[in-house]
């Protein structure tokens, strides 16, 4: 083999390749592999005496697992096995008597792969190399080199595929056998096993994962298709295979003056924007997760039951029913968004607004939401309808907008689009949120629904629950009321 003449761990790659997803992983694994083979800090690599033979340079699976647990601070042996199997799957360690590259936590013997064969060398061995390899194994009269069934099938297939150049392949295989014969017996044992492990990675046993497979989205950026592919056995590359995903390397565009000017504009807006304090933001996140904890089926048991576990769909039926559960009603109190998200909550809110003669706000908001989802051709007509109904002079459902938003909206209507009412909608939303919504939550209609489904409790119990509730509602309310914008009938 040409191994002895190759540099160990050669990485003839461009910068781009160094940062590809697989390379990042290989670097991490190689770091571990170097440490684990260290003479003082690593696992003991020994020659084991077996019946009539010696098995050179091996380590047991459990030795590896123990080392990983100790040196990577892992408590759970299952996790150490998972990492060990990952390292094995990429071919950095391999069982000496099996083609399947997994790690077992027992006395099974493993060997370390030679750096020449490491995946980080960007091997993409051709079928000609594989054919030479299988061919030379049949030439040597050794039981340990006998082909497995799937390998014999592969060889037969390759013989058919390369029928015309089989003589060439045969000759190369003979040449390889000659080179191998010159090596020391023990060394050959080790090299043969490493070579086999290399092919187990690139031509895996049927049923095993091929870890050399790449995400096709990343493939495109990776390899320069012009680069000549290395042959394992030193053959000159005579085929230039073009994968459908390879394109010529993209040249990075140099920044133009406009690019930098645009960037400066962007950075200025960033700077102008008000940043919230981290502590406030963190509290808000914490508050949100706490509030919704009861509604998260991964953290709290849903009632009546989780349909996925119990196979009982009552939970889903209740969610869509017109008679909401107490938990569902409580959610409407978290935010105006939640009340509007639930059709039953929305209807209740609408009824409440009707009782206060301010339903036009919600109806306007809903109409604009609907407008945004309409097909483009319907938008102009619908936009005009909304204007006529809610904003025009003498409109039947006149909403109260500040003059600024009114002006903007009327301008937008000259060229009506999906977002013509965005400013107005935002304004009305804020109004509902700070004004009507808070009264809604205190209304009899809502309170009755919230408390009606409660299980019978003592008077005391009911009061404290109500206290808790109003406190949590208080937390989610926003600031002051907008003055001077009360609705009149």
């Amino acid at each position: 083999m040409a191994q002895a003449t190759q540099d160990q761990g050669v990485m003839g790659t461009s910068d781009q390749d160094e940062d590809s997803p697989n390379m990042i992983v290989y670097r991490k694994i190689e770091d571990i592999i170097t440490r684990i083979q260290d003479e003082t800090e690593g696992v003991p690599i020994r020659t084991v005496k077996s019946f009539l033979t010696k098995i050179p340079s091996v380590v047991t699976g459990s030795d590896i697992v123990q080392w990983l647990m100790k040196n990577l601070s892992i408590d759970d042996p299952a996790e150490a096995i998972h990492i060990g199997s990952l390292i094995a799957a990429h071919g950095y360690i391999f069982p000496i008597s099996d083609h399947a590259l997994t790690l077992k936590d027992d006395g099974t013997f493993y060997r370390f792969q030679a750096p020449y064969f490491w995946p980080s060398n960007c091997w993409e061995p051709e079928n000609t190399d594989y054919a030479i390899y299988l061919c030379k194994r049949t030439m040597q009269n050794k039981t340990r080199l006998e082909l497995a069934d799937y390998e014999a099938e592969n060889l037969a297939r390759l013989q058919r595929a390369f029928a015309r150049k089989w003589e060439f392949i045969f000759m190369q295989a003979e040449a390889q056998v000659k080179i191998d014969r010159k090596k020391d017996k023990t060394e050959r044992k080790i090299l043969d096993s490493q070579e086999r492990a290399f092919w187990d990675v690139h031509r895996p046993v049927p049923g095993c994962v091929n870890t050399t497979e790449m995400d096709i989205r990343k493939c495109r950026r990776m390899k320069n298709p012009q680069r000549v592919k290395k042959s394992v056995y030193g053959l000159a590359d005579d085929t230039q295979s073009q994968s459908p995903v390879h394109t010529a390397s993209q040249h990075t565009r140099k920044d133009t003056k406009e690019d930098v000017e645009k960037e400066i504009l962007f950075l200025n807006t960033q700077l102008d924007r008000h940043c919230m304090k981290m502590s406030k933001v963190a509290e808000s996140l914490m508050g949100y997760t706490e509030q919704y904890l009861d509604y998260d089926p991964f953290l709290s048991v849903p009632e009546p039951s989780n349909p996925w576990i119990s196979d009982d769909c009552t939970f889903w039926e209740l969610e869509v029913s017109k008679e909401p559960s107490q938990q569902r009603v409580r959610k409407w109190g978290f935010s105006l968004d939640e009340a509007l998200k639930d059709p039953v909550g929305r209807d209740l809110f609408l009824k409440f607004l009707e009782s206060e003669f301010s339903s036009e706000n919600l109806r306007f908001w809903l109409a604009v939401q609907d407008l945004k989802r309409r097909p483009l051709q319907e938008v102009p007509a619908r936009a005009q309808e909304i204007w006529q109904e809610f904003l025009a002079e003498g409109a039947p459902s006149s909403i109260n907008l500040d003059s600024h938003s009114y002006e903007r909206t009327s301008q937008n209507l000259k060229d009506p689009g999906r977002y013509s009412f965005e400013d107005a909608q935002d304004h009305i939303y804020k109004l509902m949120k700070s004004d009507s919504y808070t009264r809604f939550l205190r209304s009899n209609a809502y309170q009755d629904l919230l408390l009606a489904r409660k299980k019978p409790e003592t008077e005391q119990g009911r009061r404290t629950s109500l206290e808790k509730f109003t406190r949590s509602v208080g937390k989610s309310l926003t600031g002051k009321r907008l003055t001077g914008l009360m609705q009149s009938s």
């Binding site: 992983v25 990952l86 989205r217």
Partner: protein
């Protein structure tokens, strides 16, 4: 000093000012604030269903808003709509191009979309009168592969592409409404905010960007990752963003503080993150990795609280239902698994 140099200097000093501004609001880390909270207990989710039927790698899946139906896309050239509760296949849609990389379910449930190496986003109508599922529109204009797509409504869809842009399309006319350009690397993933006014994109330039849909502009950019961002999602409150990257970490960025809050990493996790989804409350973050597992993180305490191990190859996609009841993982092993 040349004009270019002057401009570059100006840009650099602005960047320094922004970094200083971010530092100024950094009065307490997330870790400090939550130090009083206990870690969520060990979360053990089990596989409740396995959806079998694809014959090759699954690249993407997306839940319908009804929390029961979902769509998956595989390199066997099929889009399958599943009733995940019964495991029945509702539709098996053959695709023109088998190199599909993404799929999406419309919120209305009327349509699904997919795309990939064909650089197009194909929209399929599931509710055609004659019962046959056919291509309704082919949205073609991208000059790179389609990495992700998400419906805003039955009329509009947003796509992200390997040509470094995201696009808002009008489905009816099949035209581009807005092009969101700014990323310096392939856009890998996108997510729409709960209020449908903004969306975020993650790209191979290691940044995530927040875009205003109406204005067509980038509002904020978040850096910090050391490699491609493959997956991105909104935190359920709409004020924070979670990302997953090839650097084997996930990060939580807050939009209002305009910076990273926390990183989810472990020295024993070496493989890249392919997919990410928050639980309903946001307290848990589920992330799929190249090492065939999913890890469950306590989002506030940044600790691993669970593992979903069951796939025999990379986990390529993950999704949590709208009602938070179940999580679905899709893998290169051609299976989808439902967990809770």
């Amino acid at each position: 000093m040349g004009e270019m140099e002057q401009l570059r200097k100006e840009a650099e000093s602005l960047k320094d000012e922004i970094t200083a501004a971010r530092k100024a609001v950094n009065d307490a880390s997330l870790q400090d604030t939550v130090s009083g909270t206990a870690v969520v207990g060990r979360v053990q989710l089990k596989t409740r269903k396995t959806l079998r039927g694809h014959l090759a790698k699954i690249y993407a899946m997306h839940w319908s808003t009804d929390s029961k139906l979902c769509v998956s896309a595989s390199q066997d050239g099929k889009l399958i709509v599943w009733d995940s509760h019964t495991t029945n296949k509702v539709n098996a849609i053959p695709l023109k191009s088998s190199w599909v990389m993404t799929c999406a379910y419309a919120p209305s449930g009327n349509m699904v979309a997919c795309g990939g190496l064909d650089n197009m986003c194909s929209i399929y109508n599931l509710k055609a009168k004659d019962g046959n599922v056919k291509v309704m529109r082919e949205l073609a204009a991208h000059t790179g592969y389609l990495s992700c797509c998400r419906f805003l409504s039955d009329s509009e869809i947003i796509t992200s592409s390997g040509d470094c842009t995201c696009v808002l399309w009008d489905i009816e006319t099949g035209t581009q409404k807005t092009v969101f350009a700014g990323h310096l690397g392939d856009c890998m993933s996108l997510a729409v905010s709960p209020d449908f006014k903004t969306f975020i994109s993650g790209a191979c330039d290691s940044t995530a960007k927040l875009w205003d849909i109406r204005e067509g502009q980038c509002r904020q950019t978040f850096g910090g990752h050391e490699s491609d961002i493959n997956a991105i999602a909104f935190f359920p409150n709409g004020n924070a963003v979670i990302t997953g990257s090839d650097d084997a970490t996930c990060k939580l960025y807050d939009l209002r503080a305009d910076q990273e809050l926390i990183t989810y990493q472990d020295s024993s996790i070496m493989c890249g993150v392919t997919s990410i989804a928050p639980s309903l409350s946001g307290r848990l973050i589920l992330a799929g990795y190249d090492d065939f597992n999913c890890n469950i993180w306590d989002s506030l305490k940044s600790e691993r609280v669970g593992v979903l191990a069951g796939h025999d190859n990379r986990v390529s996609c993950i999704g949590v239902t709208a009602d938070g009841m179940a999580c679905c993982t899709g893998s290169w092993d051609s299976f989808l698994k439902i967990w809770n």
